[in-house]
Subunit: 507 residues, 2 copies
């Protein structure tokens, strides 16, 4: 089957093997650094083979689990497969796999949630323990052994540098037209030897096109040929369009007031429907010459580039719908004129984010009336996915915008609550909250001032009376009136109020 | 009285007036940017005169309040005086005055708590509204009108640049030997024109010695002669010494494991007893050639410099005991060889903090078993002081250490709780928690793993059984077991448990 056309280096060519052979080189208890970021560029074969190996070991009554470090979320073939065989003891720094999530929330799997910009440096600092094996997807191996990256960079450079053993998957599905799109920065150091990261514009190239790798560490090379398992694109729903409308109106207002330059500032956008709706809205908007400095290149950004509205996009991964992924792959040579992929320690670097003055737009699970945001936990106890890069961007952004529909579960739950059950972004890091109901501009406001605009502008009309009631009772009875709260009701008030409403309605 | 010996510029000399005359230039409703950072370098005369003016206006039935922006905390002559006459409508970004605090917590004064590194840029971005007047203490006025800074820089550069009108207090108590200690960076820009902040070592000088000021904006110059109102030094108590001991042991361990260079990394330290105890501990410790990159030069650091253990300290303010302040002032010319004072947007700059790899040590009010930290609120509702620079440092530090005695109020309250009532530093930003009981190293751990070490190593023995009980019941009954919680007991469990203990003991 192999013609090894993409593996030009003789040493690595001599290490071509099957996925099962490679998986056999990963011992029980190993920490494995895998490629993969938002479903892009993850290894397609070795994790599945590893899962089979683990399943067989378990069938023999032998313990076999590994620690899995990635860039961010991967796909069912990696997180799902390993979780399914109970093969993952510990996972970091972000995941979105349903089986994985279930195991974390049942207490079977340990999960360490880390700001995406912190992961690589923690590995270098020795904070995460030893990295035994790297399993990294690449697009090709050059004659001299350097590696052409694939559709995501994530933490690959660090895994390749730090791991004792390296397993490469060379995926010939990836169009080599993308050679040159990547910018792998080899200037990072440990303190006290760090120097400025010399990015002043989203399009600045500061690194190498290829990964450099110690060939003696490579223990196996596997050939694959398959597309990333991308998520189908869902057209924006009414609420997403309304949220997008509020944000665009706000940005235009900021330009008029002279607080934003006419050419805007680089955009960062979380993934998902709402984010895509905002980006779609920009296509018909008044802004030209847009740029983005973000984690993920998604459908909406690709559309902006194609429409000539976005001049440049910097990301660490390409995460597209299957149709857009196909188009991107076929036209990679063209898109690389306006797209750079970087390591996530650079795409999410606080230094660069603050310098460029990013407009950050991220989703949330719930926000409270004082502007604290929960991005990760359901009911304060179950993890959804993880904080991802939202903290890197929100803390350091020029404008930190959080967005959500005002209710979840068909209106049964208000996403605006008296007190969030888990805090990922504190009141100090949230400039703007937007729902389909409206936008709350919290800049410069005290907690009590924030509560008024959050309830008035963002809460769903069904929940406004309850939130007003909580706030005014808290104003009266709270021991302190800087951030008025009734601690013994903070979490229960809204669900109980809702239950009473439902009961009254049923009677 | 005036000989104007320190006011060499003729234009500014012609504007010498009394504090009362200057205060008369501040209109009701004005936003006033005052100098002052941790009780250093605040204006000594105009705020008092302004308070008198406000009191008189109120006596006539006229409304008169102002918004007060500073660097950080000031002194009774500023925050206290204005709060006493109910003259401060809005305060930012940090304060520690008891009258001020009372008014904020009674709901009479609005308070906006902001990361100290964010304040100057928010003013430049227009996020805080218009700055009408700057009232800034300096040490002298040069012939060409440039200003010699005094004992703190804080946001002075920004206030002088941004305010419509400027009032200067020239304090001849400050020894001019400190001329040359300051480094005022004029390279900041608004995005998209920002460039790297070129600091690679704590001692790098990147700016000017003096403030540049538009002389036409100066409306009044007042002569003063008085020391900062510094807080007496309290010798370290037993608990502080124990906390210091745990931290020093940990740092030595990290050096042995190769995770910290032998010369350490630059230290940041909050103020107060515990911080001073840690610094004192370093005098007898094995580390040489220490540096610090911090907000405040305090007694402990001065001692390290004098002992030849600390090579260099960078800060934004000098906050010393009265004795140390006198010594520092008398020997300013000598100390400026090893001390730099910078604007707080630079002393607290995320970019520089991450690059230098700071070891950050900050206090807390309560920490929860999962590693979330409350630095600002009593019982979730009353502000204590504010977040200060702890967020700038903790998020971007090489090592983020938080420290506290394990109990407060003579043991009546545990500082380790099931769930903090307010979050300033999330689980993602806390590497180490230390109490006199011991040290919990949370790096790389999942929430459940953290809970075990926090309870075991940090909780007071009186509260360990209760915390164990909460955690094990939460493990059993929590809807999610990633971060197990019993939401309806999270805040009440520990106080109720304690009350029952007390009751049993009394029976």
């Amino acid at each position: 089957m192999s013609n090894a056309a993409r593996i030009l280096n003789p040493t690595l060519r001599s290490k071509i093997m099957s996925a099962a052979e490679a998986a056999a080189l990963i011992p029980p208890g190993a920490n494995v650094g895998m490629s993969g970021f938002t479903g892009a560029g993850y290894p397609k074969a070795v994790p599945l083979a590893l899962a089979q190996r683990i399943e067989a070991a378990h069938a023999r009554g032998e313990p076999f689990r590994v620690g899995v470090w990635t860039g961010a979320s991967t796909a069912p073939e990696l997180d799902g497969a390993l979780a399914k065989v109970n093969g993952c003891a510990m996972r970091l720094p972000y995941q979105s796999d349903p089986i994985c999530r279930k195991q974390i929330n049942s207490g079977e799997m340990e999960y360490t949630d880390i700001h995406l910009s912190h992961v690589a440096q923690y590995a270098w600092f020795g904070f995460l323990g030893k990295l035994d094996v790297a399993v990294v997807e690449v697009a090709a191996v050059l004659e001299d052994g350097r590696l052409v990256p694939a559709n995501s960079i994530g933490n690959n450079k660090t895994w390749l540098d730090q791991a004792d053993k390296i397993i490469l998957e060379v995926n010939s599905w990836v169009n080599l037209g993308l050679d040159g799109m990547h910018d792998i920065y080899y200037g990072t150091r440990r303190p006290p030897d760090r120097r400025p990261v010399p990015i002043n514009n989203p399009g600045d190239r500061i690194g190498d096109r290829y990964y450099n790798v110690d060939l003696s560490k490579v223990v196996g090379v596997i050939e694959t040929n398959s597309a990333d398992r991308n998520t189908p694109f869902t057209p924006a729903d009414v609420n997403s369009k309304r949220i997008a409308g509020h944000i665009l109106e706000f940005l235009e207002h900021e330009v008029k007031r002279g607080r934003l330059p006419r050419g805007m500032l680089p955009l960062q956008s979380g993934v998902g429907n709402v984010a895509n709706a905002v980006l779609s809205g920009l296509i018909d908007g008044p802004f030209e010459d847009l740029t983005s400095y973000t984690e993920v290149l998604q459908d909406g950004m690709l559309d902006l580039i194609k429409a000539g509205k976005m001049r440049f996009a910097s990301a660490t991964a390409v995460s597209l719908s299957p149709e857009a992924a196909l188009e991107f792959n076929q036209n990679a040579a063209e898109f690389k004129k306006s797209v750079i992929l970087r390591p996530q320690e650079i795409s999410n670097h606080p230094e660069v984010i603050r310098r460029l003055g990013i407009i950050a737009m991220n989703g949330l699970i719930e926000a409270d009336i004082y502007g604290n945001v929960n991005s990760t936990h359901i009911a304060g106890t179950s993890i959804m996915n993880g904080i991802g890069g939202s903290g890197d961007f929100a803390r350091n952004a020029f404008l930190s915008i959080f967005m959500t529909p005002s209710t979840a579960k068909n209106g049964a739950i208000s996403c605006i609550v008296p007190m969030v059950t888990h805090v990922d972004h504190t009141e100090h890091d949230v400039h703007v909250i937007v729902t389909e109901q409206g936008l709350a501009d919290l800049r410069g406001l005290s907690p009590k001032q924030r509560a008024k605009v959050v309830i008035e502008n963002c809460a769903h009309p069904d929940y406004k009376p309850a939130l007003h009631e909580y706030f005014s009772r808290a104003l009266e009875s709270s021991p302190g009136r800087h951030t008025p709260h009734l601690l013994n009701e903070a979490f229960s008030f809204l669900p109980e109020w809702r239950a009473n409403q439902m009961k009254s309605a049923a009677e």
